[in-house]
């Protein structure tokens, strides 16, 4: 472990990994609850256009990615609300537009090729510079701040948009806020795991956590713990085993998911045997990632 810390680039990479592991699952919990698990991916693709724009104009790619991804997030909300396009189709449009824009702009950039894009597609945490770290740190603080201030309202919005309206909440503002926050998270995670796997760190820890939890708050906290474990563990492993950091982080998170599914099954069987309550209609049914199956009874 000490060997790891001797290298300047590894110290920076570890800080970036901590920020990503912390922030991505927080916002991911809201996205999963709102059934927008793939929003992060869509925004990631748009961020690629932003990266290419940064390279073309010789500005910080992280900064331009943040700007373009935010614009994309606002755009997707407008498309979702104003046109007859469902959420998943709007996302698909974003995927294609983002990738095409990125490849096109890179082609226009002198001295850059599609190979330049690869470091953003798959992440290059070892090339994180100090300036990047500052941008990532500020963005992470912004994301945490948004959740601290608007968390309660976002919970209601993601739970039931209609109820949010009946509470007089600013539904459109909150939707855009959530999308923009997700966009900033994507940009934070982009350098670590790359835009192709960016939403893995937002979604997989949440999917793992909810195998074991009953409450929203605990799900979020456990997801953050899993996110930190995956990003730090994956980065360390990749350093010693000479593997791709982004891929190692994502695979480690998926391994935790697999373990959580198994542990959740065992736990529920154990509590089902003990609890007298477990004879109800919902007993023993795994609370997995497909929770909306109605197990209730309509008739007495």
């Amino acid at each position: 472990m000490t060997e790891l810390l001797q290298y300047e680039f590894m110290r920076r990479a570890l800080v970036a990994a901590v920020l990503v592991g912390l922030v991505a699952p927080i916002i991911g919990t809201y996205l999963v609850q709102r059934r927008l698990a793939l929003l992060g991916d869509g925004i990631g693709h748009v961020a690629l256009t932003g990266v290419a724009l940064g390279l073309l104009t010789s500005t910080s790619p992280v900064l331009t990615a943040a700007v373009v991804a935010t614009a994309g997030a606002v755009l997707i909300e407008i498309v979702r609300v104003r046109t007859r396009t469902s959420g998943d189709v709007a996302l698909a449009l974003l995927f294609y537009g983002g990738i095409a824009g990125g490849v096109l702009l890179i082609g226009l950039t002198p001295g850059a090729s599609n190979a330049t894009l690869v470091s953003y597609l798959f992440g290059s945490v070892s090339t994180v510079e100090e300036a990047d770290l500052w941008v990532v740190g500020v963005l992470a603080a912004g994301v945490v701040g948004v959740v601290a201030v608007f968390g309660r309202e976002l919970f209601v919005l993601c739970q039931d948009e209609e109820v949010a309206r009946a509470h007089g909440l600013p539904v459109r503002f909150l939707s855009v806020l959530l999308a923009v926050t997700a966009a900033l998270t994507v940009v934070i995670a982009m350098r670590v795991v790359g835009v192709l796997m960016v939403s893995a760190l937002m979604i997989v820890p949440v999917a793992a956590a909810q195998q074991l939890t009953k409450s929203f708050r605990v799900t979020m906290l456990l997801a953050v713990a899993i996110g930190l474990l995956s990003s730090l563990g994956g980065l360390t492993t990749s350093f010693y085993a000479d593997l791709s950091p982004g891929a190692t982080i994502v695979l480690l998170a998926l391994a935790v998911y697999g373990a959580a599914v198994a542990a959740g099954g065992v736990l529920r069987r154990a509590s089902g045997a003990r609890s007298p309550r477990a004879h109800g209609p919902g007993a023993g049914v795994p609370a997995g990632t497909m929770p909306q199956t109605d197990r209730g009874r309509v008739k007495p």
């Binding site: 919990t29 999963v32 609850q33 709102r34 059934r35 601290a148 201030v149 608007f150 309660r152 309202e153 919970f155 209601v156 993601c158 739970q159 039931d160 209609e162 109820v163 949010a164 309206r165 009946a166 509470h167 007089g168 909440l169 949440v206 909810q210 939890t213 009953k214 409450s215 929203f216 708050r217 799900t219 309550r277 109800g280 209609p281 919902g282 007993a283 609370a287 990632t289 929770p291 909306q292 109605d294 197990r295 209730g296 009874r297 309509v298 008739k299 007495p300």
Partner: protein, 279 residues
Amino acid sequence: MSAQFTDVGSDVPPAFRTVGAHVAYDGVPVLDGVSIDIPVGQTMAVLGPNGSGKSTLMRAMLGIVPLTSGQVLVHGVPLRRFRSWRRIGYVPQRLTAGGAVPATVREIVASGQVAARRRLSFATRADRAAVEEALETVGLADRARDSVRELSGGQQQRVLIARALAGRPDTFVMDEPMAGVDAENQRALAGTIARLRDLGATVVLVLHELGPLEDVIERAVVLESGRVAHDGSAPEPTGECARPGHEHQHPHPDPNDPARAATETAPANLIRLEVPGRD
């Protein structure tokens, strides 16, 4: 602290007033000029066959669906400028109370206070007491720490009602709160609603059938094809008529009668209203 149960003076504006409310989905009219006043403190049912616009009326009254023309005033304020949302408790029509992430019964119920609490504030003792009270009212206090997913459909419906109660509003809007709730709990809920009425709350319910709420309802508005077909005392099903899935007959004023407004107590003829049974 609480918005609940302000004194009703003589000049208090109605809890809800709709003036020529029209709503259309994709150009198809669903509400066709509904004008009703719901005075503060009244317990009112909106009845009607499927597709008559009763849920839409309720959603329009809360601004969930936009009006194509007409106006809605909530406690005397046009909906667009209405800010006292903590006075409103809404129970949506849902099969399940949960999102895609697990949430405990208490978390869902406490979220009903979102309009009443300031940002960046912790729950006060009064907030927590209101949540406990709401849970006890619907008989779910012992399930507070369980995930809503573990509950039956009827129990989840009660969670949604408790969520509306938790914000301590004085104006309730409930969209078929009895759907999926078994007979025993329907009676318990009817008791809850009666208690709210006695405390002076305004309660508007969309109902399929009056059922155990029959004695609680003071006024029934029956919609048919997006228009008010009956407005007056609650229709009283008896005997065979109380059975779900039959055809009701309700007195209502003749729409062509010039003295229509004054005929609430003197029905001019009868309309047939189908009340489909729940399957």
